[in-house]
Symmetry: none
Subunit: 209 residues, 4 copies
Amino acid sequence: MNQIASIERRRAPTDDRRAAIAEAARALIVEKGVEGLRTRDIAERVGINVATLHYHVPTKEALIELVAESLQTQFRDQHVTRPRRHLDVAERMALEFIDFREVALERPQAMLVFSELMERARRDERIAAAILPLKRRWRQTLVELLREGVDSGVFRPDLDPDAWATIIVSSMVGFCRSPHKDADTYTRLAAELQRAIRNPNSANAPAKD
Amino acid sequence: MNQIASIERRRAPTDDRRAAIAEAARALIVEKGVEGLRTRDIAERVGINVATLHYHVPTKEALIELVAESLQTQFRDQHVTRPRRHLDVAERMALEFIDFREVALERPQAMLVFSELMERARRDERIAAAILPLKRRWRQTLVELLREGVDSGVFRPDLDPDAWATIIVSSMVGFCRSPHKDADTYTRLAAELQRAIRNPNSANAPAKD
Amino acid sequence: MNQIASIERRRAPTDDRRAAIAEAARALIVEKGVEGLRTRDIAERVGINVATLHYHVPTKEALIELVAESLQTQFRDQHVTRPRRHLDVAERMALEFIDFREVALERPQAMLVFSELMERARRDERIAAAILPLKRRWRQTLVELLREGVDSGVFRPDLDPDAWATIIVSSMVGFCRSPHKDADTYTRLAAELQRAIRNPNSANAPAKD
Amino acid sequence: MNQIASIERRRAPTDDRRAAIAEAARALIVEKGVEGLRTRDIAERVGINVATLHYHVPTKEALIELVAESLQTQFRDQHVTRPRRHLDVAERMALEFIDFREVALERPQAMLVFSELMERARRDERIAAAILPLKRRWRQTLVELLREGVDSGVFRPDLDPDAWATIIVSSMVGFCRSPHKDADTYTRLAAELQRAIRNPNSANAPAKD
DNA sequence: CATGAATGAGTATTCATTCAT
DNA sequence: AATGAATGAATACTCATTCAT
């Protein structure tokens, strides 16, 4: 009847369900936090029975991992859409802030979920396993960018890439957690951070080359 | 740690009991998070019956408020011990970082508890009422210090005090949340932040170039 | 009594379960009163887990309402089984006493439960909402019957329908509450009440003197 | 110092406390019912510690008995104040209704407490032992009065004294339990009851001898 | 007599998970 | 794949009662 011969016909329904479950779980985490997350609420939001939920995602632990994976996928996809290899360091750093603005202001949900899971990761190593790589990758990107910028003289020569990766990541997360997440506040925050790492003596600053 | 004189465990004055309860609750929040906090566990750690716990602290809500108060007291006391009115802006900012180093490295418990409560504050207005004033006071201290420094030329004239208060607070919290909380990392972080806000053209600043 | 087919105790349809729960609750109210009613006891008597009880009837409040409904249904059904529209006033009043004899003597449980709930209704408006309509309907039936009887000359012309509704209802309830609930006592009580309202000068009345 | 040489100097303080406790307990029973009665609430109302309450009244059971005794004393005192031996039957019956009017309308508290305890008496034999004699005495007074009235021709010759004692007591209790306890309703109720038992053929009715 | 502190035995309710259909 | 019913283990909170002072 509706046996369309699409390639992923067989696994699609299950994957759709899992995606819907992840989506509902994320929304509920935003509303009530991980500790307020109830399997019954998720099932209800998806429109299925709790037992059915457990058929697709056997335990609550697996559910949290599913949410972590969904974040991973989202962030990876987002990063991929903007090819950046041909840009220079300052431009790429600027892109990081633009990327983050999008996450923080237009889809604040994702960052809140990420933040919640990070908090849990400290105590739950399964969540840690699913979510920490994400953070490490983000941090690593920044460290490398900063190091490259220092080497090329675009960023301050005495700048400590590790410390600044911490400062930037923390500030971004701190911004997302703050109650006043408006565009203007973000703009000023991003501007301050970029100004602080820039090499004041660099030729790039006022005029390029 | 909880080896209080075992013989005369009973009949402790209420204030002592409440202090012991707050202490136990803080330790358990560090171990299991606010959501993993169980009245039974606290009672057990204090060495009293659950009913006795409820005698001293009627509800879990009141318990969280008690923890918040204990943080408040601790932070206030700490701030008071170092008189700072006669110091100049740079010295006072330096003292903030020294204060924080103590909190972050020597009593990391407090910051983790603070961080947990902040997370809960977003959804629980009673926790918010108990913990947010603490954060606001800290942030305000920084904003004023930064503004004063800008005005007196010690800090960069184009520095945005609000944005930098966010950066500093976020970095401190981010440091406490990170898994590698060693003294060296903190020192580098603090140094970078202080260097970033300093006015490079100030007379006080060390000669550059 | 609670020897329901023991083999297929599980998987009963919800309505059956709710009926069984109402039944068990009523029996326990008779034994221990509403204040001695424990969810665990009910579950045990029905042969289910306490959690299962809460699956079918979410709160104790809902449980009391369920009991009230079950009384309502029982009384309504009973009243319906005896068509009485074609009877005259005296016959219908007599039927009321016959109906009540059945309730009071053959199923004394129901009246005790009713009495218990009435007592609680004074302080608990949710119980009141569930049980008072039942009492009002009963009382109203009597008031109308009495009024009709007065108008048609079957009952004493100087009889106050409201006062007598109170007397009759109170006497019936009082009888059920008394420790000696035998048929003879009831018969004499009902006879006295009917004689007291009858018009001694009515043509229908047996010749007097 | 205040060792006044009054006769009951020694026992007075304790008895006063017990009286105050009984008083507070009765007020609380009216407010919340026996099932809502809490030792702590009583202690608080009396202005003493719970432990002190238990010093004066060792258990909750003893407390209920104390309340029952206090009712007993009150009702006995009240009955004694009106000497009635020299009155005729009709006058004495009228006095019963007047007595009850006072209890029901001016001190409704007592009847509600009595009603509550009667309800408990069915299941708690210690309460029964304390409260049932009270009811029996009341009922017995009525039975004897009715019998005497029948014998002397003042009440209907075919009247069943037992049944009518039930009717009268039930109606009085029913009145107290009803939500509309106004004087007019009581007057009509009492009038109907008295009219119903009066001998219509008695010489006393219209003109006395 | 009085009390602050302590406690055992409850008490309704919650929740992830399981199972028969 | 889906579901209604069922459940064990928890969980915060209550209350009459006790005890040391």
